[in-house]
């Protein structure tokens, strides 16, 4: 599982995060992976490819510093560097925001390939946050990808859409995609009321690179514009950091999802299960 390339030669990897269904955690994963990779000392730029519905800027807490956006770069109204917002916390983390008020057809897949190739010269990682759906925006997002991550939740609609998108990625010769299962609730899995990691893997049959438990702290950190992977202590925070490590070619075991076995933890679970 070595995606890290040959190190010395400066040719960054392009990783696209997509899902098919909306609301499964693409933007959160992109922001946290970017933060975790940059915290490991790598040069990272993330591109919000969701033109018209940009969000990566707020999740990263960079919304107030936008001057230029992706469409400005593509249409030559600014230089690439001018559209790259530098993060205050991590000196080598940048964001190229999506345009909020432009036609989504302002960018084409070949524009994205050109842009990514330029960024490869200076960056270790180029992360692209894909819009939901299977249309132009999705095609833009995967066009330059070396690696495609598909995010899903353990729910019927998200798994079905993930399967569809995995097929499309294969058809575009960008596969095999790699899977991240987000928002798993170990207590529900234990009760047999939520698809388990094993169930989802059996259905989708692609390699798993991340398993992230549901965690309200992810919402709290998004409220603050401060990615949880930066210094969060929870399992979700650790899970994001682990994905970043795996992408760099490290073998990191998946976290045990079951909650603590302390008396308090067990009591809390029993009460929750009893109340249904």
């Amino acid at each position: 599982m070595d995606y890290s390339g040959n190190g010395k030669q400066m040719s960054g990897k392009v990783l696209t995060v997509t899902s098919g269904k909306g609301g499964v955690g693409k933007t959160t994963l992109t922001a946290n992976l970017a933060a975790a990779l940059a915290a490991d000392g790598l040069k990272v730029v993330c591109i919000d490819a969701d033109i018209g519905l940009r969000n990566l800027d707020v999740i990263l807490g960079l919304e107030n510093r936008i001057v230029y956006d992706l469409v400005d770069v593509v249409e030559g109204r600014c230089r690439l560097r001018q559209a790259m917002i530098r993060d205050k916390r991590l000196p080598e983390l940048y964001l190229i925001p999506a345009a909020q008020t432009r036609d989504k057809n302002a960018v084409s897949p070949s524009d994205m390939v050109r842009l990514a190739n330029e960024l490869r010269q200076e960056m270790d990682w180029i992360l692209i946050d894909s819009p939901a759906g299977i249309e132009r925006g999705f095609r833009n997002a995967i066009a330059p990808a070396d690696i495609v991550l598909v995010v899903t939740n353990p729910e019927v609609s998200a798994v079905r859409d993930a399967d569809r998108i995995i097929g499309l990625i294969e058809a575009e010769e960008k596969g095999p995609a790699k899977l991240v299962i987000n928002r798993i609730k170990p207590v529900m899995v234990k009760r047999g009321e939520m698809l388990s990691m094993e169930d989802v893997l059996e259905l989708l049959a692609i390699e798993l690179v991340g398993l992230i438990p549901e965690d309200e702290n992810v919402v709290i950190s998004a409220n603050r514009g401060n990615p949880i992977a930066l210094n969060g202590k929870t399992k979700a925070a650790q899970s994001f950091r682990n994905i970043a490590r795996r992408l760099q070619g490290h073998k990191v075991p998946f976290l045990e999802m079951q909650e603590d076995g302390s008396l308090f933890g067990r009591l809390a679970r029993m009460l929750r299960a009893g109340g249904n």
């Binding site: 019927v156 798994v159 079905r160 569809r164 698809l195 169930d199």
Partner: protein, 89 residues
Amino acid sequence: MNGFFEKLFRREPNSASQAKERLKLVLIHDRTDMAPGKLEEMKDELIAVISRYVDIDPDAVRIDMAQEGREQRLIADIPLRAVGRRRMN
């Protein structure tokens, strides 16, 4: 696992296994772009064609889609009727 309690308190299988079984079928049809009804139609046509050559029991024919990783497979089990063809000749 918790099969004992399941039998005691529930009649339905738990929702996770229902989800998995339903998804298995849905994904097969999504991947092959073949609606469930189409499979039945094809089955009838296949039976008609095969019957022209050999004697089969239409009710015993089983044609199903199966998943193997991300590969889809059409599996047909067509039992032939035991006819003493030689003796008849």
